[in-house]
């Protein structure tokens, strides 16, 4: 076995861990900070040789369902997504706790506290708790790697899906990983109980009782987990419960001296009740460190906060929102602030902006001329992708960005309320993620909206992954029932600007659903393809 350390991102460590632990399929939809799990698997020669499935899914829901299907067939599968992706996949995710797993099943959800590139900072541990399944939260890349092995074993031991929850810092932090002995993939083997996956009420009631019975076992597993540990400390004025990355930031502050307080490191949930009880009994106060929302803290406090001992995000020792940092944790313990000099106030921000030559720029120019300058602000719903930057100057064209797919359906609702014109801008990848079903609603009711599907042939925002929409938008739209006369494809080049504006005006005048597809490749993927072609011709 090769025990040389590998230098991997947290995301990559999970992927490599899964490959080494005999996974047969990766399923995912891109989303920062989870994207590199699938990308690593896609670039892995080893995964290719082992014939491991590693294609993007249309969205997170289809990803989790496909992973569940692979698990049904007895093989190990992993589905990965960003935190808001788990909202989309919530239905199969929650119900998979009732069906259980057959082959090992891991769901990775990557949270983004501080919202570096997300709409919210929800904490996936709530979802894990809601589903009542074990949650693993690695605090370094080695744990991330090891937890793939551990997670699959745990999943197969109890026939239950297991969640791995990571956050941005670990997902995108590189460190050394010592690999383990590789495991062969499972052979296909159907579930012994042919009704295991049939959640008819009569069966589901039994499955739910079984899930409830398992809770004690999960607690036992947490207590015996190699990832949780209780460290005694002399100074009992404070006890510290450090979850996930909180443990790193804590220990960072005692690098040279060692931590004087008792510490409970939690990287596997449900939280270990007996150890917490011991700490609460022995210590005057308890500080809870969590990357994300105060999930454990709220549990420990309870509604009445009877112990009066709990400190953390809810009482303000740690800020209520945003990421942790070594200094935030330091100050939470009442230690001196080490922050250096402030940055000079004259520094300017560099807000993200559309790349030079981006096709969305030309689309917004046409939209502004045809809609904003005629009807004013407030008529254009939008979605999530590079084109969301159309909300900022110089365009200020769009008025919403909520969740993937919401542009079409919000435009519909607003049109139903009487807004005219009611329009929306949605990316090609977002359209096949969650826009198609909304468009069906629109077509069936013949709602008077204009839909722009901005087709740049890729999933640009997350780094240029393949888009399921590629080459399919026309067929999909016409198939859903959009009328041919009101479906247009146009290359939004400056020379086509006037034609583009005319099409928009004509479709606004039409009382019914219209779809306009400005089509031109993203300049980033275009450059990538061009340089790859060049490399090829040089070979």
């Amino acid at each position: 076995m090769d025990t040389k350390k590998m230098l991997l991102l947290g995301d990559e460590a999970i992927a490599q861990g899964a490959i080494d632990a005999g996974v047969s399929g990766f399923y995912a939809y891109p989303g920062t900070p989870s994207t590199e799990i699938m990308e690593y698997a896609q670039h892995s020669k080893e995964a290719a040789e082992k014939n491991i499935h590693r294609r993007w899914s249309a969205n997170e829901k289809t990803a989790v369902e496909a992973a569940l299907g692979m698990s049904y067939a007895g093989k190990r599968a992993i589905a990965s997504m960003k935190h808001v992706g788990l909202n989309v996949a919530a239905d199969p995710f929650i119900n998979s706790a009732l069906t259980g797993a057959n082959g090992g099943l891991i769901i990775v959800s990557a949270d983004d506290p501080s919202m570096h590139s997300s709409q919210d900072e929800q904490d996936s541990r709530f979802f894990g708790k809601f589903a009542m399944i074990p949650i693993l939260e690695p605090c370094n890349v080695q744990e991330a790697y090891d937890m793939a092995f551990y997670g699959f074993d745990l999943s197969e031991k109890y026939k239950i899906p297991v969640m791995i929850r990571i956050t941005t810092r670990l997902a995108h932090s590189r460190g050394g990983v010592v690999p383990r002995k590789k495991i062969e993939q499972n052979k296909m083997k159907l579930p012994e109980n042919k009704r295991q996956y049939v959640l008819l009420p009569a069966i589901a009631r039994k499955s739910y009782k079984h899930l409830l019975e398992l809770q004690n076992k999960f607690l036992e597993e947490s207590i015996n987990s190699p990832f949780n540990k209780y460290m005694e400390g002399k100074d009992k004025s404070l006890g510290i419960i450090a979850c996930g990355l909180g443990y790193n930031y804590l220990m960072e502050n005692f690098q040279d001296t060692g931590c004087p307080y008792p510490v409970l490191k939690i990287s596997q949930y449900p939280p270990t009740v007996p150890q917490i009880a011991k700490m609460v009994d022995e210590c005057n106060e308890i500080l809870v460190l969590e990357e994300g929302m105060p999930v454990v803290e709220e549990l420990l406090r309870g509604m009445l906060n009877r112990t009066g001992k709990m400190k953390g995000r809810m009482s303000g020792e740690i800020p209520r929102d945003g990421e942790l940092s070594p200094n935030i944790v330091r100050m939470g313990m009442g230690m001196e602030d080490l922050t250096g000099n402030a940055a000079p106030s004259m520094l300017a921000q560099r807000p993200p902006s559309l790349c030079k030559g981006c096709p969305h720029i030309d689309t917004y120019k046409a939209i502004n001329e045809a809609i904003k300058s005629v009807y004013g602000d407030g008529h254009i719903f939008s979605d999530i992708g590079c084109y969301t930057l159309g909300a900022l100057p110089p365009f200020e064209s769009i008025n919403s960005c909520v969740d993937m797919g919401a542009s079409i359906t919000m435009a519909k609702g607003a049109a139903d309320a009487g807004l005219f014109p009611s329009c929306c801008v949605i990316g090609d990848s977002t359209f096949t993620h969650s826009g198609m079903t909304g468009l069906l609603d629109v077509v069936i009711e013949k709602t008077n909206i204009v839909v722009f599907i901005v087709d740049n042939s890729t999933t640009g925002m997350t780094g240029g992954q393949d888009s399921h929409a590629l080459g399919r938008i026309q067929d999909i739209c016409l198939g859903l029932g959009v009328e041919k006369e009101h479906f247009h494809i146009i290359n939004p080049l400056p020379k086509n600007h006037n034609e583009f504006v005319e099409i928009i005006k004509k479709e606004i005048a039409y009382n019914g659903p219209s779809v306009i597809v400005p089509t031109r490749e993203c300049v980033q993927t275009y450059k990538l393809h061009a340089s790859k072609d060049k490399e090829k011709s040089n070979e």
Binding site: R174, Y247, L250, A342, Q524
Partner: protein
């Protein structure tokens, strides 16, 4: 041995390559390494940041703690100032002087450079000029890495191997050009320290 580095720049300036060279050298020297990268919107001209931590002991935090950076290495002068709260009292700023102006309200470059000059420990240089002189205008990031190498307690030979590691795929000529950029940056820092 312990070195905390904050690497700063703008998307497309090759910050992550600097991190890879130093990181490769560190791991090859048997040191522990943690490197936090900020991914996401960088391709669209936003500020880019990477935290690089090297030590002969186990490292806990992926982030450099505030006030504990030994080095701020920046491909661009305004970005070098953005992360001052991370810099320790004895820490050094190593920065390219040439601004990357992709915003309408970039402050007057003279006042930015004056702020850099005010910092107690800094080396600022015309990275673009030095790179051009080596016949490799795109080697600015390696010039910067070379300048920083003076402050990182890792054998320079290992840094060179790091450069070979990233550019090998592109042929001997590119490797040599980047090695030259690295050497020139180091030379400048040794002379102006």
């Amino acid at each position: 041995m312990k070195c905390n580095i904050v690497l700063a720049g703008v998307g497309g300036q090759g910050i992550l390559s600097i991190a890879t060279v130093i990181g490769y050298a560190a791991v090859d020297s048997g040191l522990f390494l943690k490197q936090a990268e900020v991914h996401g919107m960088s391709q669209r001209g936003g500020a880019v940041l990477s935290h690089l931590r090297i030590s002969d002991k186990e490292i806990y935090s992926d982030l450099v703690p505030e006030g504990r950076a030994d080095l701020i290495i920046s491909a661009e002068p305004m970005e070098s100032l953005r992360y001052l709260p991370f810099l320790s009292k004895e820490g050094w700023i190593i920065t390219n002087k040439n601004p990357f102006i992709n915003i309408p309200n970039y402050p007057a470059i003279e006042s930015i450079l004056a702020e850099v000059e005010k910092q107690p420990h800094h080396i600022s240089f015309d990275g673009d000029g030095i790179a051009k002189n080596t016949g490799n205008a795109r080697g600015v990031n390696m010039v910067i890495a070379g300048a920083a190498s003076v402050f990182i307690d890792i054998p320079f030979e290992k840094m060179k191997e790091g450069v070979r590691f990233i550019f090998n795929r592109k042929g001997e000529d590119i490797v040599n050009k980047n090695l030259m950029a690295l050497e020139e940056g180091r030379k400048y820092a040794l002379e102006h320290r």
